[in-house]
Amino acid sequence: MTTGQTTPANGVRFLEGDVLVVGGGPSAAWAAVSASEAGARVVLADKGYFGTSGATAPSNTGTWCVAPGEDRPQVVERRWQRTAGVADQRWMLRTVDQSYRGLLRLFEWGYPFPKDEKGDVYIANLRGPDYMRFMRTRVLAAGVTVLDHHPVLELLSDGETVTGAAGITRPDGTDWQVKAGAVVLATGGCAFFERTSGAAGLTGDGLLMAAEAGAALSGMEFTGKYTLAPYGTSLNKGLPFRWASFYDEQGNPQLDSKGQHLTNGIGGPSEKDIVKALIAGPVYARLDLAEGALQDWLRQGQPNVMQPYERRGINPFTDLFRVELKPEGTVRGTGGIRVSTHDCGTGIPGLYVAGDAASREDVAGGTSGGGAINSSWAIASGWWSGQGASAFSRRRGAPGVFRNHSAPIGQAGLRPRETVFAVDRKAIAEAVRAEVAPLSRNYFRSGPALAESLQRLDVLWNAVTRELGAEGPDRLKTREAASVLASARFSLTAALARTESRGMHRRTDHPGEAEGPVRRYALTGPDAIRVEVQSEADQLQEKAS
């Protein structure tokens, strides 16, 4: 099955397909396979190389794997208790079910799962480099047209319906467009330019594109998640820190609020004390609680995590090393494009969403889904969005009918309102990070500080929409800067609106959860951001009326 391609006209290369998948991580892979199996001609366009792109490829990720034989409703109920009351058990249950089917498919396809101590195949963990390389071969085998190094810059619309996307090739900057019956945004979360492994491409492109098409974002206040890493490295992987003890610069034990030696840095009760210690000064760690076989399992099971130590020539089980907490943005946070329909439609005709680009409030709630729920969500939402997009494309008929009425709709970073000045992308990155990265502003939040941050970024947004633009390949950089800035403004707006503490959103001026039904904050924009408050009580009322 090939996709139609026409010869370049005025320098723009045109392609055509039923479904365009934007992105190159696991959810993009599953969406492409799913749409292809539903009979669609699929194009997958990735900013980088499909197989190494995204947060999963450099990682080793667990999944939320619950076999049908286990009491799934009970497992879901227990996990729901940890979602700060925000998640929806119906979505959790169907995610468990669909992702389990995906894991079985992987086994049937021949993915090399390990065996557990009983000799049974262990399907609840995926090794990133192997998993994503494997998915690339499956997607190619499904007949999908894969476009590597083809960053999408903007969506195409006929005024009502999303009809494709436009982008450039790297590194030369040639223009291309894909006219499609439906588009799946699987562009990942926004890491706010944090230099963590897998985050280079995670600039919130999908969030800005969806907002420009009129879609709402939700859960954007849940960006207060941080993960430990050896200082100055890219390895924000929490698991080994389960066995860490923490020390000050002189090697004295760091004490928690009860005077006990601080240990276990994977979250939980010690987290706030570690944060406070890091705000106060440098913190050192040693994985000294990992003894015997645990050391071997860490070395063999987490070879990516071992790289900083190998390369520095230190033994993390016996030597002290400095650590930092890396902000996770919406990657291990839960905010993203609001999912409006069971097949991951966004509410905008022709536009679907999958993986970390989507809000994961339904499955992870107000706490992080990183490392387990998010990877299951990638499989499940990828599958559903592929089904939804192919069905929509079929209902709509051939792309030729509407293509002539379509136009690109991107603004910020591409089409400045006034003269183009050389706005420094690094300066934008630093300005954004100053507001959303520091523990003192973003782990512990307060209304006045959030309002100040938002005001500064609103001023910057005004300058960006007025002046930021570029020619040729540089458009990718300007567009990424605009996307990160837009994502940060959405996050700050939602954080300001939620006047309570819930999950990873911690307001020092509103400690504790607010009374009454749990609210969600749906945002539209991207220029003047509108906040719509939604609660379960409202929905029940709607149904009644």
């Binding site: 190494t52 490829a57 080793n60 090794r127 480099p129 590194p171 390895l235 099971g301 790289q307």
Partner: protein, 109 residues
Amino acid sequence: MIEVISDSRCIRCDICVRVCPANVFAKDDQGLPIIARQDDCQTCFLCEIYCPTDALFVAEAADGPIGITEAEVEDRGLFGVYARGLGWSKGRANGAQFDTTHYLRVAQV
């Protein structure tokens, strides 16, 4: 961050140019990969494991180069260190079947 491309190890297959998710590499006139956009590197080490001859070295510092030389990488046996840890060899994937992470998941609770 990517710091070393070994001329003597490199066979000019240009796999690194293709697979880098951040598009860091380019080819020079002789077809040799060069580090063209070092600051875009996300320190994911994936170019190393895709390289069929272990000709690349990514230092662990994510914010900027530390200036490590090819000689030091060679002396310390660091070429291919991540690939060996995973069980990948000559740019080919292998070893996921021996992943021990499930023991850690049991032990972490």
